[in-house]
């Protein structure tokens, strides 16, 4: 039996996909802006963030309406509530892209402290984790979601590498490098936070599909 309600759910799904596309391009652009230290690209990202915020609000409103009007249960309920949570994580990812853009504005016009090695790796990883988390949502693919969650450690390690290098090799040897080092440190931190939010999305996908709670229990994934 097809239900009118399914059309409503489809519409919600479309909004999440629309938001996902915007968020993916925000991260992609922020990483490009970082590589090129492009003031122009950074400013565009900051400006575009309003659009993502608006989709986030629209998704939240849609979810609240569906819950109030249809009293959904079981898989329907899990889908709607997880859409609400996923939208929040996507919105935070977009905010982190803005944060990276702001660091780019701070660094633009001065030479880079050092050639970037681990930060581009972390950037690639964060982009990949976000893309795969979104794909796991689209395809209700819990295996892919699981692999996203397992990558989060790698992100933490890269962030730690960047941090210890910047502190030990630059800031403690020459305090005048601090402003530029801190900006890079923050970029690493923003990228690692993006990975955390991608992990949240993946965890929500597993709950949505299998009604299994894996949050705070990474050992259950092994």
């Amino acid at each position: 039996m097809t239900r009118y309600f399914d059309e409503e759910l489809l519409e919600l799904n479309k909004k999440i996909l629309e938001m996902s596309a915007e968020v993916e391009s925000a991260i992609g652009n922020s990483i490009k802006a970082l590589r090129e230290l492009s003031r122009e690209k950074a400013e565009a990202i900051i400006k575009d963030d309003d659009r993502i915020d608006n989709i986030d609000l629209a998704i939240e409103e849609k979810c609240l309406n569906l819950i109030a009007l249809y009293q959904p249960a079981a898989a329907d309920l899990r889908f709607i509530v997880m859409c609400m949570k996923i939208a929040t994580d996507l919105e935070r990812i977009a905010d982190l892209a803005v944060d990276i853009a702001q660091r780019v504005l701070e660094m633009a016009g001065q030479p880079l402290l050092k050639p970037l090695i681990d930060i581009p790796k972390l950037a690639t990883l964060s982009q990949q984790m976000v893309r795969e988390a979104i794909n796991s949502f689209v395809n209700k693919d819990t295996e892919l979601a699981r692999s996203v969650i397992l990558k989060d450690n790698e992100a933490d390690e890269l962030r730690n590498l960047v941090q210890s290098e910047l502190i030990n090799d630059y800031m403690s040897k020459d305090p005048s490098t601090a402003p530029r080092a801190v900006a890079l440190l923050l970029v690493a931190r923003h990228l690692e936070r993006i990975c955390d939010h991608a992990t949240n999305v993946a965890e929500d996908v597993i709950y949505m599909v299998k009604a299994e709670q894996v949050r705070h229990h990474p050992e259950s994934l092994k």
Binding site: M1, R3, F5, Q71, P72, A73, A74, A75, D76, L77, R78, A211
Partner: protein
Amino acid sequence: MIAAIRNIIEVKNLSVFYGKFQALKNIQLNIQANRITALIGPSGCGKSTFLRALNRMNDLIEGARTEGEVIFDGKNIYGPETDLLELRKRVGMVFQRPNPFPLSIADNITYGLRVHGQNDRIFLEEKLYRSLQAVNLWEELKDRLYESALKLTGEQQQRLCIARLLALEPEVVLMDEPCSALDPVATARIEDLMHELKKAYTIVIVTHNMQQAARVSDYTGYFLLGDLVEFGETNQIFTSPKDKRTEDYITGRFG
């Protein structure tokens, strides 16, 4: 304080036949004391038959035959020594449509007690007060106790029927669609009453209103074509049912 969880009724391999038609197939289910158990499912799938099996009301239906056991208070109620009058006093039933006797409000409450041989006036008055108080009707009706019960609103009549049952001090209250003849506000008030009653009684309710089952019950059982497809905590059934058929029914894809 709610007593520790215990099974007040244990249903074992229960099958009910109407002539050749098998209405219930090998049902296994425990009813926990001081909890509300809701039975949901499409029409004609065995919910009401199951409910009636718990106090042998199916005996009243011609051609009905029961197999299996319903253990209540350590004894199979289908055993030969069961006193039906006593059983139905301890496991009472509230029906879909309120069915007050065409008597005064007071007599509705005391009638059953008098049938059971109680004639002490002070005892009966005390019971009248306590029973009406328990269903929150005392304040409303204390000045109209000798008016006909048939003058009451549908909701008041249904409350009166519950009070009439409580006067007999049952242990289990069976409710067969108790709100289907009531408007939403009256329904909400009966549901609130159920929450209060479960402190002292065990309730088993059959309902077509899934949201009602979700709101009032602690445990939910889903019946389909005479089978108990799934039974579990209401929270679990409504957020993560294990059986695809339960999922389809709960989400309105079927039924």
